[in-house]
């Protein structure tokens, strides 16, 4: 299978750099798959689960926060605010964040906390979901 160059860049670390066979990212339009020789494109990423397959290897999953994916001349770059492999996710922290966010949504004191809580909940539930992979 054809491979392409993949670079996953988070704000505070380089998650992955190397050859990949395929990539699935959560975009604003839903899950989006990319393979070699994809046309040039840019799409927005929302918090969720990212999957990439290295040549001959198995799928690798990771949690990603909001950002973007860029395909340019066969090189794929994923730029996100945060990215974590399943075993790196702090489950307790994510759980706490989710509970806190749910509570704030129920109480919805103001519009601001509501919007913030929703974002927080989206991040926390995606983290929890990804953390259950490979367990």
């Amino acid at each position: 299978m054809n491979t392409f160059e993949l670079h996953i860049l988070a704000a505070q670390r380089d998650l992955f750099e190397g050859q990949a066979e395929s990539l699935i990212v959560p975009t604003t339009e839903g899950m989006y798959g990319i393979q070699a020789k994809h046309m040039n494109m840019i799409a927005g990423i929302i918090p969720g689960e990212l999957t990439y397959r290295t040549p001959g290897g198995a799928d690798t999953h990771a949690f990603v926060a909001a950002g973007m994916v860029i395909v340019k001349d066969g090189v794929v770059t994923v730029m996100v605010g945060a990215a974590e492999y399943p075993d790196e996710i702090d489950v307790n922290r994510a759980q706490r964040a989710a509970e806190q966010a749910r509570e704030e949504i129920v109480r919805h004191k103001s519009k601001r906390t509501y919007a913030e809580a929703q974002r927080q909940l989206a991040r926390a539930t995606s983290r929890l979901k990804v953390s259950k992979i490979n367990r």
């Binding site: 704000a11 604003t28 040039n40 840019i42 927005g44 990423i45 973007m68 730029m79």
Partner: protein, 309 residues
């Protein structure tokens, strides 16, 4: 004149203060190194983000979003416009004119840009206390510190101010921070417009524009992608501004503490001199007293013996 005991106490208190200022100096220097290292880690990400954003601004002639305006109005501020200003100050003083410089810069911005109505988002306790007393337009619910800046905190701050922008509570966003210059000069306060972006600031000629526009297809469209990225970029900018301010604060504190150390050294020198002076004086006086007493007794004895004869 002070007694030796008093001077000794004074010397001890100066020594103790010097220990504190010296410790603050050392702490500041390690903090600067740490904050700089963390900023360096995030640099590649934000550099790339910026690049993408710029190219989008160029080719997106049809982008209609609140985040982007074609050009800045020249000297004709709209009446109803409220300008949000993020102000980064320290949590405490003891760092020379650092805080004052930031506050002055805010004043300058307000007068020179003819801002009639503003809202202040103040980071750091020093600024909060100042504006609580001097400016009623501070957002009091906005309570953040600039101690050891992290990306997480910058995100929270970014979410807060971008929300206000999206909801129309402010029509413009500025940030006032202290740009870090290496060395002992500390930093220079600076104000930058965060939002909206003005297309004219990133002008390109048509040739460059053409080469850019051939590259890419946006999914689903430029506006959506643009609007997803802008908050990340703004947060990144806030983070780097926080780190730069923090480094400036620490280096200003280092300078201040260094001066305090030197001053303590000087004070100790003159106090020691005074102490020795007083001590020597006391010894001399004692000797004079003893020898005077001895002489007095001797004379008394002589007189007694003379009378006996």
């Amino acid at each position: 004149m002070a007694t030796t005991k008093e001077i000794k106490n004074r010397i001890k208190s100066v020594r103790d203060t010097q220990k504190i200022t010296n410790a603050m100096y050392l702490i500041s220097s390690t903090k600067v190194t740490k904050a700089k290292r963390e900023l360096e880690q995030t640099r590649p990400y934000f550099e790339m983000l910026k690049e993408q954003l710029m190219s989008m601004i160029h080719l997106a002639d049809d982008v209609k979003t609140d985040y982007l305006i074609a050009s800045r109005p020249v000297d004709s501020p709209e009446q109803e416009e409220t300008v949000g200003i993020v102000v980064i100050t320290a949590d405490k003083g003891l760092c020379g004119a650092y805080n004052q410089n930031v506050i002055k810069e805010v004043q300058r911005l307000i007068t020179e840009e003819h801002i009639r109505s503003h809202k202040l988002y103040v980071i750091g306790e020093y600024g909060r206390h100042y504006y609580l007393e001097h400016d009623s337009s501070m957002d009091e619910g906005f309570d953040y510190s600039n101690m050891d800046p992290t990306l997480d905190r910058a995100r929270e701050i970014g979410d807060y101010v971008i929300d206000d922008f999206n909801e129309g509570r402010v029509q413009k966003l500025y940030i006032v921070y202290t740009a870090f210059r290496n060395g002992l000069t500390g930093g220079a306060p600076q104000s930058i417009e965060l939002l909206p972006f003005a297309k004219e600031d990133y002008a390109l000629d048509t040739q460059e524009k053409k080469s850019l526009s051939e590259i890419t297809e946006y999914m689903p469209d430029v506006v959506t992608v643009f609007e997803t990225i802008v908050p990340s970029y703004v947060k990144g900018f806030i983070y780097s501004a926080m780190v730069e301010s923090f480094c400036s604060e620490q280096s200003a504190r280092m300078t201040a503490m260094d001066a305090a150390n030197d001053n303590a050294e000087e004070l100790l020198g003159s106090l020691n001199l005074e102490y020795n002076h007083v001590r020597q004086g006391a010894i001399t006086r004692e000797i004079t007293e003893i020898s005077a007493g001895f002489r007095g007794q001797k004379r008394a004895k002589e007189l007694q013996e003379a009378r006996r004869k």
